[in-house]
Symmetry: C2
Subunit: 335 residues, 2 copies
DNA sequence: ATTGCGATTGTAAACCTTTACAACTTTTTG
DNA sequence: CAAAAAGTTGTAAAGGTTTACAATCGCAAT
């Protein structure tokens, strides 16, 4: 591999001049520049990024941590992050934590080893004190989740009000026995959506039947299993609100296998509006959230942090919207 | 940030000794070691990875390039890659190309800038000559796709025979007008699956009706659109074989909207066996391929290449299997 | 006492850039 | 024509490691 010294020697200039030709920061005599460019071409010279990074103490790498790449929700967020990163000249390192805090910490350590410039967390398991401490001295942005009482810059929707919106929709259709399939309890997001569910019922003067709140893990399969359980009750729910679309699709499968019609016998609503949700049958009532934009805005903020530029806003809340499709309808007794 | 010099000074040793304590390669007097460890602890020392990488001319980063992170097929492959990489102490940089060759080349350039040690391509657009040349001097593995006549190490299934298997299944059920929704023609994989489709028909003594071969782009939506077109024909097909599950799910939607029953009026088969494919209604007949293993084996090979270790095999072909579910059945006229 | 050896540690170069500063050349100005 | 300014280039240090090689020390063997 040719180095800058080889180029300098061939072009009969100093290495400083070669560097200047590359960066374009300082003026270089056009003739000299030509010689240098010719030499670089001839030697097929490629600057060594490691040396450059060491000198600059910058890597132009940002890390995005997510609990599960497989979840299509996150892959759209990633797209936003990746596009934003690209535009600013950053590369994206993706870390899959599988919800494992140890893995997450491994990735976080890369910041301290100068192997990455910043970090985006798409799900904070609740080690809030640790996280706050960590974020105090390092560029970090929290995407998708809002952490009560934290000062970490955040981009998300208002999960509580969004969940409330879904449940109110079901209430307005006439449902009274509405179940909730929540995500893992240790995920902040899950608890926020559950809170919205409770609020809607309470505002409607209804008690929450704790039997109707069941925990899943955001996977298709968990939605399927939990729904079978719900259907086995003496008084099964007339509507199910799942904390994400995947679990809702699992629920749909379980309901159909049970010989019931959607939405005639039972309504289903999800959360996230995955692309597939408008293609499944019945198509899914759900909350559309600006996943791409969440990613894009997060990385924008992160890069400002990295550059020590001031943030206009430290907590960004984006709009969501309820998308009503075939899976939710008036309950039977009301028809 | 404390450096190795600070640690050395505090522990009253040379930087070489500190380095030795970290690497554990050379022997160090236990007492000295204790002093050094204490100093590191006290200063909260973290070695600078950039400096280490520059010195070693290694980054421990590998890049995985894919056309589309959003495709759930790839996210499972990524998991395999990521796990394999982690186990070997490598980090994974994910590059989304959007099928754009320019973006792909940008990522590939990172190898020449010493910012990554190796590359896994999950889809080769056909710039075969360029790719062969590029791979000749750099650690590269091709995952998912087999490139005819290339010497680039590859891990994949036999797409031709797998596609043949699907079509033979449909033929065995009695179908004669079988459509194929292929992937983008410039993707090798798409052409392989098309080839399998043709072979199966020919081996059965049937002509290929070129009207029944339509091109999609692997997205749900393209499957939907193409199917509407197929259904508008005077003599629509009695079965549709889509080159991936997403297009198949799009096809199902279009067929239902058209008021037809699956599989009574028309059968559908996909390719990939996404998790969601067993949850949609009707559940999908498809080809199961070992996505995780493809990723895992690819990275294994790549790391051997990076370490200049010999490869036992340069072209690995893994097993696939046909999964028959609800979406395929006997055509009407045969019932 | 001398020699030799193993164990341990230190010195200094190398990895390849970027950039502050100095130096030199050419042009402009009075 | 001298002096100042502008334009161009070079020198050398710095960024933080790893490691080949040399040096030192203690101790056993002769």
């Amino acid at each position: 591999m040719a180095t800058i010294h080889d180029v300098a020697k061939l072009a009969k200039v100093s290495i400083a001049t070669v560097s200047r030709v590359m960066s374009g920061a300082d003026p270089v005599n056009p003739k000299t520049q030509q010689r240098v460019l010719a030499a670089m071409e001839k030697l097929n010279y490629r600057p060594n990024g490691l040396a450059r990074n060491l000198r600059n103490l910058r890597t132009n790498v940002i890390i995005a941590l997510m609990p599960n790449i497989q979840n299509p929700f996150f892959s759209e967020v990633i797209r936003g992050i990746e596009d934003g990163a690209r535009e600013a000249g950053f590369h994206l390192l993706i870390g899959n934590t599988d919800g494992d805090r140890g893995k997450a910490k491994e990735y976080m350590a890369l910041l301290d080893e100068s192997l990455a410039d910043g970090l985006i967390l798409t799900t904070a398991q609740t080690d809030q004190a640790f996280l706050d401490e960590f974020a105090a001295h390092r560029p970090i942005v929290l995407a998708c989740e809002y952490m009560e009482g934290s000062t970490i810059p955040t981009v998300s929707i208002d999960n509580i009000s969004a969940a409330r919106k879904v449940v109110k929709h079901l209430l307005a259709l006439g449902h009274r026995r509405i179940a909730h399939i929540m995500g893992p309890n240790e995920v902040i997001l899950s608890r926020a959506r559950l809170a919205g569910y409770r609020q809607a019922l309470q505002q409607h003067g209804l008690e929450v039947d704790e039997m109707l709140v069941q925990e899943g893990d955001f996977s298709l399969d968990s939605g399927y299993r939990v729904t079978r359980k719900l259907l086995s009750f003496k008084r099964p729910p007339t509507a199910i609100f799942a904390a994400n679309d995947e679990m809702a699709i699992g629920a749909i499968r379980a309901i159909r296998e049970h010989g019931l019609q959607i939405p005639d016998d039972i309504s289903v609503a999800g959360f996230d509006d995955l692309t597939v949700s408008s293609f499944v049958s019945p198509s899914l009532t759900t909350i559309q959230q600006p996943r791409y934009e969440i990613g894009y805005r997060s990385v924008e903020m992160l890069i400002r942090l990295i550059r020590s530029e001031p943030l206009a806003q430290t907590q960004v809340v984006l709009d969501d919207s309820l998308v009503i499709r075939e899976s939710s309808g008036v309950p039977k007794e009301h028809m």
